[in-house]
Symmetry: D2
Subunit: 234 residues, 4 copies
Amino acid sequence: MSERKRVAVVAGVGPGNGTALAKRFAEGGYAVALLARNVSQIEGLAEEIGGKAYACDVGDPDSVSMAFGAIEVDLGPVDVLLFNAGSGVFKSVEEITPADFEAAWRVNAYGALLCAQEVIPGMKARGSGAIIFTGATASLRGSSHTAAFAPAKAAQRSLAQSMARSLWPLGIHVALLIVDGVVDMPRTREAMPDKDDDFFVDPAGLAETAWFVVHQNRRAWSFEVEVRPFSERW
Amino acid sequence: MSERKRVAVVAGVGPGNGTALAKRFAEGGYAVALLARNVSQIEGLAEEIGGKAYACDVGDPDSVSMAFGAIEVDLGPVDVLLFNAGSGVFKSVEEITPADFEAAWRVNAYGALLCAQEVIPGMKARGSGAIIFTGATASLRGSSHTAAFAPAKAAQRSLAQSMARSLWPLGIHVALLIVDGVVDMPRTREAMPDKDDDFFVDPAGLAETAWFVVHQNRRAWSFEVEVRPFSERW
Amino acid sequence: MSERKRVAVVAGVGPGNGTALAKRFAEGGYAVALLARNVSQIEGLAEEIGGKAYACDVGDPDSVSMAFGAIEVDLGPVDVLLFNAGSGVFKSVEEITPADFEAAWRVNAYGALLCAQEVIPGMKARGSGAIIFTGATASLRGSSHTAAFAPAKAAQRSLAQSMARSLWPLGIHVALLIVDGVVDMPRTREAMPDKDDDFFVDPAGLAETAWFVVHQNRRAWSFEVEVRPFSERW
Amino acid sequence: MSERKRVAVVAGVGPGNGTALAKRFAEGGYAVALLARNVSQIEGLAEEIGGKAYACDVGDPDSVSMAFGAIEVDLGPVDVLLFNAGSGVFKSVEEITPADFEAAWRVNAYGALLCAQEVIPGMKARGSGAIIFTGATASLRGSSHTAAFAPAKAAQRSLAQSMARSLWPLGIHVALLIVDGVVDMPRTREAMPDKDDDFFVDPAGLAETAWFVVHQNRRAWSFEVEVRPFSERW
């Protein structure tokens, strides 16, 4: 009788980091659950990697609870949560609406809490697990044009710190990957046609770092790890 | 004919820092508007310092817009906004509810945006003004028992940074005071009866620092200034 | 019989911040001791403000010990030490020599220790005093062209933190002012003739902040305070 | 004809992290040069891992230049520099002597520069290479008892940042590992006999992280990576 596959959930699967994370963990032998608002956009990837796609709005408690309930039934308890949902407008405090500010927070911070709370009890019971958040430069500082996005990412980072401090001792590895650069995606390539490969963060590189962090020796864990193209100014 | 008094708004007036801020700015010659959810709790102070009390729930757009509208009519355009609203439960990620997380964010971060957006256009038009946020240790890091409060304060700090970067060049001084310690209030004294005076942050000290920052030479402005009792471990 | 004047030492007096600090503390009623390598360059200022000039190489233990010995005899025990010495080449790791690296450290970090150790015992005995370091943007991060200067300033900042943590509880206020911008001086004006006043940090503004920090209520002390022109990008 | 083995230098080989780094890179196929002040203490390890031991005082320019000269002759150009030298007394500003302060700086910061300058030109010419520093909690902040050690580590960190910013674009990966905890060594075990395994940083875990960072995809490089036991309070 075969052993159950370990289960990884990628919450927030777009064409960049989410896809790369899903592929890396599938390659590594995990059963991978993919979450996106629009399930039709991830079904192809799910099939390609032998995973399973779920419709989920990470900012909606009912939707999150339903998706994680289904994952548990379909694949079993979650070993690794890769919280990769993230979006936000790039505007200044004068330009954003309160609704922009709230929408960014709901996906990046509130959604992070909702998904985490779904998996913590099981990980705690088993004394192991990993919860990895995909952060951004904006997790670390607010710039003039990130009045909505940066506060949402800062809240996410602060939540991740709080979680790390209370969950690490229980054997649950909480970590934050800081993506400091422009991610290589069809959309960003189109928007910046004059940039060469080295300008862009390679999503496969991010995914490799996530894989490494998830499997680190627990007597030498990392919390915050940035990934940045060698050519980036910082 | 007398010149109009400068106007300071203290949003979030409780018995500690809010009261001290209101007194300091009244002493310094400002017309002070006090905002609190329950106006009956601040009417005495308003009378004492010759200010004016307004009922306001800083997390509610209509309430904020109504209060600032009334202030403008009653006292004139706002020169200084002292955003001091702040509250939150002190619990871990396992103990908080999503509602706790949202409530903390709504007061500390969303409310900060709502109040700021009320005063920015006028300050911009005049090319001067100051917006000071009262932060906390939790603005800087998430601890195990601040899973709701710290993300809210981190979002506030990030918003303040974003605002500083876009508004300083327009002559609007945005700053963040980090209160790192237990504020001296009847409630905290009661809870910690064995501590002596020196253990507690003196709200008058915080208010003096706020006053200084608001009136700094604009060719030598500060953004983030902590206040901490000399005896505090940090 | 007149009361003894309080004594402030400005270690490292050049035409910018050092001069402004000396003037501000003289104005505030302090007897001010000025220290510079070349005493002839500060004698005019000493006379102007009713202070006293001392030749001192802050990186040389004998010179420091001699200067502080003379100050104590001439003016009495030191109440405030304003450590403003600072210099460094602006070059990358490939361009600096080990001697550049050492020279920067010797003035900014080692000199800071030597001067501080001269005044700590007296301040401790009296249970009061202030030691303020003038830091720079480079105190916070190393840039490509600050391979010698930034490590020296980072060492100074770290020493200041260590000192604050051990000396604050004894009543000695250790603080660090971060000058984030180009200081207004004849030399910098000449080098950047196209910049207007608002581009430059006003040394008088820095000095005012130093004065404020030195006299803060000890139940609300600040450790790290930046000063930055409102128009600076950061 | 066999290809030349890649060369890794471990500068500062003691019984904890240095030994683990040397073993990991030897296992990974590198020719490993071991540097220590007392060569007799590392000859056994050198033999065990098929590496080569060199006497070197990293704070002495002549000694450094001689050691790296010999390495180049014996093993070829250096691909990876693992700067692991580090020591310091744990005392407060009142307890340290200027000599303690200087000695800590000379090993941790000045030595880091000397070793780095030996390998940079070759790495630059080849357009690749990695320089990894072993930092500590003290790299990030000065505590009351680290008045000598923390400033030295802060200087090292700042130098590493400066180097990263100028050398990454040339293809040289500069990174800093922050060891946040007590390293597992005979000496620390003896000093803390009541602690269990999980209390201590596993040097093999640090070495694994160093290995990972050295071989990261250059479009997703990390600069600062902490390693900390899951049970550590931080």
